[in-house]
């Protein structure tokens, strides 16, 4: 990727982070930590990687698809969807408020463009993505299905049912990501319920696993490109992203404290000072 393009994408990610902080502050509650940590991935997917139609179609035929399994980081997805042009950025103001299409956890129930499946109750997105990938095969499409999961989410049993299925049935048009920030609500994943080693676990299930820094856009992009080259090679693909919860806001990093807590006005001001406004706030 050219330096100029990289800088542009980093600029978008900075705006997305501003959106996240301001949306959560505006709502008075929400999940900023994980959302900030995944801003680089979602920016890259929607602005660089995914082959997608400009106008949203629920059926998603002949385009790449993205599913968010860890639905609580909805703020980052809403921001990226709005900034990608699926709906007006002004609608970000409504997140988590009454009569909004931007529910606390994402859903197609309110017919928000960009969202094809509800998530929030954890552990279901990998199965859903596998289903969508199977349909792409039946429809003879060569497009890719992407899904993002949390690392704490790996404690859900359904994930491993899905992991087993994807390898057994050679679902090789699927690239899954794990937001490996090692934090969950009650503390670090190591304390609460160790999920390690995720790499060994998925490899032993028959997946092709890549690892990278999920907050280094250049490295993340090159890893996605490596993984994309393996599409069609009989194995499901996994990118384990080492991320920092709260990335981009110094006082939110290195702690699980900001998993599900909104910054107050003063904290928000402090956060926004660290994030450049590149596309204009909503």
């Amino acid at each position: 990727m050219k330096k100029k393009e990289l800088q542009e994408l980093q600029g978008i990610a900075s705006q997305v982070r501003r959106d996240i902080v301001r949306m959560v502050n505006n709502a008075g509650n929400g999940h900023p930590g994980g959302a900030l940590g995944c801003a680089d991935l979602l920016t890259l997917l929607y602005f660089k990687v995914m082959e997608r139609k400009e106008k949203f179609e629920m059926n998603g035929e002949n385009e790449d698809l993205f599913f968010l399994s860890n639905g609580h980081i909805s703020a980052v997805w809403y921001s990226v969807l709005a900034r990608s042009g699926y709906f007006d950025v002004e609608e970000l103001k409504t997140h988590r408020k009454i009569d909004s299409r931007l529910q606390g956890h994402p859903t197609p129930y309110e017919e928000l463009e960009g969202v094809r499946m509800a998530s929030g109750s954890l552990g279901q997105g990998l199965s859903v993505a596998i289903g969508a990938a199977l349909t792409k095969k039946l429809n003879k499409e060569n497009k890719v299905v992407y899904v993002l999961m949390g690392d704490g989410e790996q404690q859900e049993g359904q994930i491993w049912e899905a992991a087993m299925f994807a390898a057994h049935h050679k679902v090789d048009n699927l690239i899954a990501f794990i937001d490996h920030n090692k934090q969950q609500i009650d503390g670090s994943t190591d304390e609460v319920m160790s999920v390690e080693s995720l790499k060994d676990k998925y490899e032993s299930f028959g997946w092709n696993v890549f690892e990278c820094d999920g907050n280094n856009m250049e490295k993340l992009y090159s890893t996605i490109i490596l993984a994309k080259k393996e599409v069609g090679n009989q194995k499901p693909l996994m990118i384990l992203m080492k991320t920092e919860m709260g990335y981009g806001v110094d006082y939110m990093m290195g702690t699980h404290k900001w998993h599900g807590v909104a910054p107050n006005d003063e904290e928000t001001k402090k956060a926004l000072e660290q994030l450049e406004e590149t596309l204009g706030d909503f």
């Binding site: 509800a118 109750s121 289903g131």
Partner: protein, 317 residues
């Protein structure tokens, strides 16, 4: 006896044959099964359409999620496993990934109720109708014989939206017409009468017809309604009948809590209050035994329907 049958067949075979037939007509139909292909009679479908059949293994939660995902891009997934594993085990997956996400999945459930038999209470779900009917947008169907199950299996492919299709294990009388049309949400009037209405679903429909014969011999005139669609419920058919008879008996192979009886009672309480008696399982679990023995022990036969009818007629003012 107003109805007769020439043979007994299992409703699950109606599902298997219906699936094969609908798949021939509609190339969007796919089948998923959680290690019960034989029990669900999905073998012929699997053989005819190997590329459209997905063996999920003993992983029902994953099966529901995959089915939901497969609708994106236009497939019409039919999932197959026992009723217990089709509902209670995967309730949250159905709720979030299918119902709340408005996905066009057909959840097809065999071995519902006591007539699962010898495997016992772990597998004899008697709460599934209640679980499914509470979910917004979920259509709930419980068929009574082979022909009706086959017709329903075919019909639901054309109904956009989630469906729970419930059927059973044992061979039961085939008394509805072959190739009869199946209209989702439309009650089927089997007998017309003026003294009492009997509203039954699933395996209890045949028992309701046997009860009608007994009551008829006592000089009573009985309305018998086959409710194959519990949600959306044909409220008009129920109210029209009870307006005439002024009392009603419901019969189902399900807990009385959350079942057809409660739905009927709700309709009547809102629109036309009338005495009601419910034949169903009364807040207990089942046990191992032969299907017929269990239906007798738990009070799900023509005799209980007759008793309930006499009781409810006596309650009429």
């Amino acid at each position: 006896m107003k109805y007769s049958f020439s043979e007994k067949k299992d409703t699950r075979s109606g599902f298997g044959d219906g699936l094969l037939e609908v798949a021939k007509k509609n190339d969007r139909v796919v089948g998923l099964c959680a290690d019960l292909t034989g029990s669900l009679k999905m073998g012929d479908f699997k053989k005819a359409f190997p590329d459209r059949f997905f063996q999920v293994g003993i992983a029902e939660a994953n099966m529901i999620g995959i089915a939901a995902g497969m609708t994106i891009g236009g497939m019409i997934p039919y999932t197959g496993t026992f009723a217990n594993f089709s509902t209670g085990r995967v309730y949250d997956q159905i709720r979030q990934s299918i119902a709340y996400s408005k996905k066009n999945v057909k959840i097809c459930a065999s071995h519902a109720g006591l007539t699962l038999g010898e495997d016992g209470a772990t597998h004899q779900i008697l709460e599934d109708i209640g679980l499914m009917k509470m979910l917004p947008h979920m259509t709930v169907i419980n068929t009574c014989d082979y022909n009706q199950t086959k017709a329903a299996t075919i019909a639901i492919a054309d109904l956009e939206g989630p469906v729970y299709l419930r059927f059973g294990r044992p061979k039961v009388p085939v008394f509805t017409p072959d190739n009869d049309s199946f209209e989702v949400g439309k009650a089927v009037q089997l007998c017309e009468g003026s003294d009492v209405t009997i509203i039954a679903t699933g395996h209890l429909v045949w028992e309701a017809l046997l009860a009608e014969e007994i009551l008829s011999n006592k000089g009573l005139s009985v309305d018998v309604i086959n409710i194959h669609t519990i949600k959306p419920l044909d409220e008009k058919a129920i109210i029209d009948s009870v307006r005439e008879t002024k009392c009603v008996v419901t019969a189902e192979e399900h807990q009385i809590f959350g079942g057809l009886g409660e739905s009927v009672a709700g309709v009547l309480a809102r629109s036309f209050p009338a005495p009601i008696e419910m034949v169903g399982v009364k807040d207990c679990f089942g046990e191992s035994g032969e299907p017929d023995e269990l239906m007798v022990k738990y009070g799900l036969t023509k005799n209980e329907i007759v008793d309930a009818a006499m009781k409810v007629i006596a309650r009429k003012a």
